[in-house]
Symmetry: C2
Subunit: 328 residues, 2 copies
């Protein structure tokens, strides 16, 4: 391995000077700079991140924690995180939050021992013991969730988004609209979204019909059955995740119901999944990649001073083939 001393020797200067040049500090002549850069180049020198981190008490590492590493929502956010991080010279460390917060806490402790520059939490709440595990020096922010006001977060306004989605369906002439919610316990936004649906229904003096799934594909068919058992005459189903929305579209077709002619289906999130069914899922879009990018910017904003970043991002409704107006 080539070290800073090797470079110093070749360039005929001291390690301190090499360090100055490599880090773009001031205090050396143009001639020295040239010689050092030449030596760096010819030796293929790259500063050791560990030694540097040990000395400066900080590494260019950003930790990312997601409930499931492999679902579309987290993947798209992670993709945004990865590119923003790379752009700024940071690397990403990936971890999964299990069902209990001890899982996450243990990962955060590890991140602390690597002296990560910050941590991004995807659709999971920050618990006090998690915050404690990370220590006080490392900024933490959650994405795609609104965690009260206790910790910084970045999300759409889920209540309004669900309200808007419901209003959209009502505007299409639907009156009997079922809600397929996610698991309220595991993913907090579900409660908030549910509230938006209820508000829109109440305002329109419509009676709500709802069932809980767990946001994943497989949970939707049985929940749909329960929904239909409550009201067989539903003309629209609002699923609080695209995976569930896709499952509803498919399941309805399996049952011989036409989408959207017999029943409209609206999804949530605008992940790739929403485009993988036929008819493609109308959905409420969250700017997922962008959220990942912004999370990185905001996390690092304390040091580099980027301007303030909004914490509530805009959602928007995307109309595709799975919804249509009710023609009575």
């Amino acid at each position: 391995m080539t070290t800073i001393r090797d470079v110093a020797r070749v360039a005929g200067v001291s390690p301190a000077t090499v360090s100055r040049v490599v880090n773009g500090l001031v205090g050396y002549s143009a001639e020295t700079q040239r010689r050092v850069e030449e030596a760096v180049e010819s030796l293929g020198y790259e500063p050791d991140s560990l030694a540097r981190g040990l000395k400066t008490k900080q590494t260019a590492v950003i930790g990312v924690l997601a409930p499931l590493v492999s679902d579309a929502l987290a993947s798209e956010i992670m993709s945004g995180v990865e590119s923003a991080a790379r752009l700024r010279g940071y690397s990403v460390m990936l971890g999964r939050t299990g069902p209990n917060s001890t899982f996450a806490a243990s990962y955060l402790r590890t991140l602390r021992t690597y002296r990560a520059a910050g941590v991004i939490l995807i659709s999971a709440a920050v618990t006090p013991d998690m915050r404690r595990a990370l220590g006080s020096g490392i900024p933490l922010m959650s994405v795609a969730i609104r965690d009260g006001q206790r910790f910084p977060s970045l999300a759409i306004d889920d209540e309004v988004a669900a309200y808007d989605g419901t209003r959209y369906l009502i505007g299409l002439g639907h009156r009997r609209i079922g809600l397929l919610a996610g698991d309220p316990a595991s993913v907090l936004v579900n409660t908030v979204r549910k509230r938006g649906y209820l508000r829109a229904m109440a305002e329109a003096r419509l009676s709500p019909v709802l069932e809980d799934g767990n946001s994943l594909y497989d949970s939707a068919p049985p929940a749909l059955a329960r929904l239909l058992a409550q009201d067989a005459g539903l003309t629209a189903v609002f699923a609080l995740s695209d995976e569930m929305g896709a499952a509803v579209v498919n399941e309805l077709q399996r049952m011989g119901r036409r989408v959207p002619d017999d029943i409209s289906v609206l999804g949530f999130d605008n992940t790739r999944t929403s485009q993988h069914v036929f008819p493609a899922l109308s959905t409420i879009a969250q700017p997922l990649e962008r959220m990942g990018e912004l999370a990185v910017e905001r996390l690092l904003a304390t040091e580099d001073s980027v301007g303030p970043v909004p914490r509530i991002l805009p959602h928007r409704l995307i109309e595709r083939g799975s919804t249509t107006s009710l023609t009575t």
Copy 2:
């Protein structure tokens, strides 16, 4: 931050002894161990990974490189990597391989400066400059690709898998079978899989019909159109990725053709996507999560000695609703 010296002071021993206890080495009395563990516990001490890595020249970090962080295939492999890594106390650093290998090489250089324990490359070939960038001390292996014999890899036998898929379709009575291949340039397995299809077709004295997509959803509809332009009477389409397979199922339905009654569709990989369409996609399954886990085991096998790990994993055909026998 609490350091090993703090622990030593509280326990009334030297830092060296604390180190021994913490690392489970030998050479201390039971009494000493108790006192040290007590101090560790009460101070919440956790060894600094940077200092440790600097000294030992190795960190518990595994690098993972994928072409797209957000696609289903890579996500599922990464999920396996993550859990196997965590199990063994390792953390995962995530990066993306761009179109050119300089992207990957730069990431590998970073991984080297962190003294990663190993690197896993997902469906991308190892180029000489990548190997050079990583240096010689760090093991590297590729997953879901077969990279000649030059570097260790872990994959199914793609040629045979594609052959088996084609045979399956032929066994169902199909004679006019179109192949929707991926981009041969970017993903090497596509060439190999294509070969398997061609062999099966040749053996059965059937004439091949093929078009290239790029493995992603959007590339499939136009490629399908070209396939149909070549032979409008196709009764089966074999898509070399589930995303393309899903797109074909949906596009066919949009065109008013029934799947599988008019046309059977077979996918490849068995990612979540294959279940997100209706009818669900029959497909060739790769054990993706397992591949991620095995990759970690094998990477670390040099140090800890786990038994030998097979490099060719079994594929299997999964029959779902998108394929049926041809009833003439």
